[in-house]
């Protein structure tokens, strides 16, 4: 895996953390800073093409400023990375709608932007989540949030419920891999027995996930929705978290899951009780 933006504060810090967790970090890219090595001995390249050619990497994680992130995603895709995880936040939506057809043509899966990354506990993490709160197990976690996911994973782990993989899809209105895409990935994953879905106000992905469950979903699902107390018309931090024109409310999302018999937790800790009943 290559870290784009490895010479920055966040990129450097998390490259070390990922390496320590066991992720095969084989290189970094910062244009104009190629040829050196980081404190951990990771070689830095000027471009993704050179980094991929020099290391054989197939994955990239991005920690560059928002204005350069769309370009970084396309560069990684064009260099042949099959998986690109974009941690950077603040990408203009216009950039995202142009990036998506470009990377689709090249067969790249994008997680994010504005994502905490993905982790398969005990094996590898690509992102910024603290590794020590996770444990190996059979629960898949998909979330539009970062730190709220940590909170819920922390409870799961303490209750002895380990995770197969945790995927933070990002809080933007338009992301590379959305809730439904991730639900499909978990449906096909043999290591995942049940899924925790962490949604929030804005958009209708949660309602569509409920529809997917109504149509027959092979795994048990427990849900938490954030933003019950959010006032309408106000953006709650995430660019995608906004109740507009009376739609996208937490109440609607909870009702959609209730209608298909899926339990929704009132507090992050309650997810544990729900998942224990389910598996």
């Amino acid at each position: 895996m290559i870290v784009q933006g490895i010479t920055g504060r966040d990129g450097g810090f998390h490259a070390s953390q990922m390496l320590a967790y066991g992720t095969k970090v084989v290189g970094g890219v910062t244009p104009g800073k190629g040829g050196r090595k980081t404190e951990d001995g990771i070689p830095v390249f000027d471009s993704m093409a050179e980094a991929v050619a020099g290391t054989g990497a197939n994955t990239s994680v991005i920690y560059v400023p928002a204005a350069f992130a769309a370009d970084a995603i396309c560069e990684a895709s064009d260099a042949g990375c099959r998986l690109v995880v974009c941690i950077s936040e603040g990408l203009p939506v216009r950039d995202m709608v142009k990036v998506l057809p470009f990377i689709k043509e090249r067969g790249t899966r994008l997680i994010g932007p504005n994502s905490p990354g993905i982790i398969s506990p005990g094996r590898s993490k690509v992102g910024i989540m603290p590794g020590n709160i996770h444990a190996e197990g059979s629960i898949g976690v998909v979330s539009r949030s970062g730190t709220l996911t940590y909170e819920i994973v922390y409870h799961l782990t303490r209750a002895g419920l380990g995770q197969s993989s945790c995927i933070g899809i990002g809080g933007d209105p338009i992301v590379g891999t959305n809730l439904l895409d991730t639900m499909e990935l978990f449906a096909a994953d043999d290591e995942t027995e049940a899924v925790v879905l962490i949604g929030e106000i804005g958009g209708s992905d949660e309602e569509m996930a409920a529809e997917m469950i109504r149509g027959g979903y092979p795994k048990k699902v427990g849900v938490f929705i954030a933003g019950h107390s959010a006032p309408p018309g106000k953006r709650m931090g995430h660019a995608g978290a906004i109740v507009s024109g009376g739609t996208g409310t937490a109440a609607e999302k909870v009702a959609a899951f209730a209608a298909v018999g899926v339990e929704v937790a009132d507090t992050p800790a309650q997810i544990v009780d729900i998942m224990k009943r389910l598996i």
């Binding site: 966040d10 203009p92 939506v93 970062g146 730190t147 709220l148 909170e151 209708s204 931090g237």
Partner: protein, 376 residues
């Protein structure tokens, strides 16, 4: 970011949309000269950043310059949904034969730009969508090719069977698409797009909301920001690169991450308290951001306790702790501080906070309950 209709009209006009000429004024007596210059009749329109101006009496027609002065005088100072009208637009009036709706958004489902048009113009489009969805045509656009001529023909013929009118509508829709993409908008609307008795098409209203994340590319548009009706805390938060939304409760919240911040507010309500705000200090938080967050929250005299809920990932708990110490020293904090820190560099953070007076909490639920108790 929202901008005034007058500014949105300017952006539309620069993309070739047929926008009737207009003048912005702040004094009623200037409406006469504006009406004289534009030629009567004119329409006098309140410039406030909310919808429903017409129903609130903020849009009036005037057939003489004297009447324009009178109408402008009636609208200036008017209260529309809590906002005071300080500016009015005097625009050349257009006789309306037919009115349509045209709008652009990013569609979250298809992950593409989407144009929506409807022959039911001049009314709330969300209501049209609920009651008569068949009256709306939506087309998604591949941004690589842009809005294609066949799509333009399909959209414009949905609105008008008259070929000459449809051609003009088509040009307006292409302009709308270009204005939306070119200005990094999150919404661009013409409601209504009208046909006058001579068969000429006009965009007589204009609305553009900008994608905050795209503003760095458009300093000219960023300068259109009008904060006169925004909560001062929200303005200060923007300057400090924090997300802040003011609410009415007694418990101030400082949280890292939007999802956790929302969940914290929800939990305060769940256990019977009321949050005073939403505040996300963001990912790469620095001590300075924590200090700024504390300053913003302390502006609100309703706040009786502050809850700090941090689950460190990219945020380092020691940075937050350093910021809290600094805030206590600089801001003379005299209300209880409930602190929950878990995650990255949690150990060093505990060391930093050892000698400070605050209520330590073990977990989010404990922190919320302690904050509710502390706020009284």
């Amino acid at each position: 970011m929202k901008i005034h209709e007058a500014d949105a009209r300017g952006i539309f006009a620069s993309y070739g949309l047929p926008v009737p000429p207009s003048r912005m004024i702040t004094k009623a007596e200037d409406a006469g000269a504006a009406a004289e210059e534009l030629g009567c009749p004119v329409v006098v329109k309140a410039q406030v950043l909310v919808g429903g101006r017409g129903k609130a009496g903020g849009v009036k027609l005037a057939s003489t310059p004297a009447e324009a002065v009178e109408k402008a005088g009636a609208i200036l100072g008017l209260d529309i949904k809590g906002l005071t009208v300080e500016k009015v637009l005097v625009a050349k009036a257009v006789d309306i034969e037919k009115e349509f709706y045209a709008g652009m958004i990013f569609d979250r489902g298809s992950r593409r730009p989407m144009m929506m048009v409807s022959p039911a113009g001049g009314v709330d489009i969300e209501e049209v969508a609920r009651k008569t969805p068949e009256k709306i045509l939506k087309l998604t656009v591949n941004p690589e090719g842009g809005l294609m001529p066949f799509q333009v023909r399909r959209l414009s013929s949905f609105l008008s069977g008259d070929k000459a009118v449809a051609r003009q509508i088509g040009r307006a829709l292409s302009g709308l698409y270009d204005a939306f993409m070119g200005s990094d908008a999150s919404l661009a609307e013409i409601n209504p797009l009208v046909v006058d008795p001579d068969g000429k098409v006009w965009a007589i209203d204009a609305k553009i909301n900008l994608d905050d994340n795209g503003l760095f590319r458009h300093p000219d548009i960023a300068a259109m920001r009008d904060d006169s009706d925004t909560d001062p805390g929200e303005v200060e938060a923007r300057g400090a690169d924090l997300s802040f939304v003011k609410l009415d409760g007694r418990i101030g919240c400082i949280v890292n991450g939007a999802g956790l911040a929302m969940a914290t507010m929800d939990m305060i309500k769940h256990f019977g308290g009321e949050p005073a705000n939403f505040l996300d200090i963001g990912g790469s938080s620095s001590p300075e951001k924590v200090l700024a967050a504390m300053r913003i929250i302390l502006r609100d005299s309703n706040v009786k306790a502050i809850l700090i809920n941090i689950f460190g990932g990219i945020t380092r708990c020691d940075d937050v702790a350093t910021g809290l110490i600094e805030a206590k020293e600089k801001l003379g904090l005299d209300i209880p501080l409930v602190v929950r820190l878990t995650g990255t560099n949690e150990g060093p953070a505990r060391e930093i906070l050892k000698k400070t007076e605050m209520i330590a909490a073990d977990g989010m639920e404990d922190a919320v309950k302690k904050a509710i108790a502390a706020a009284g």
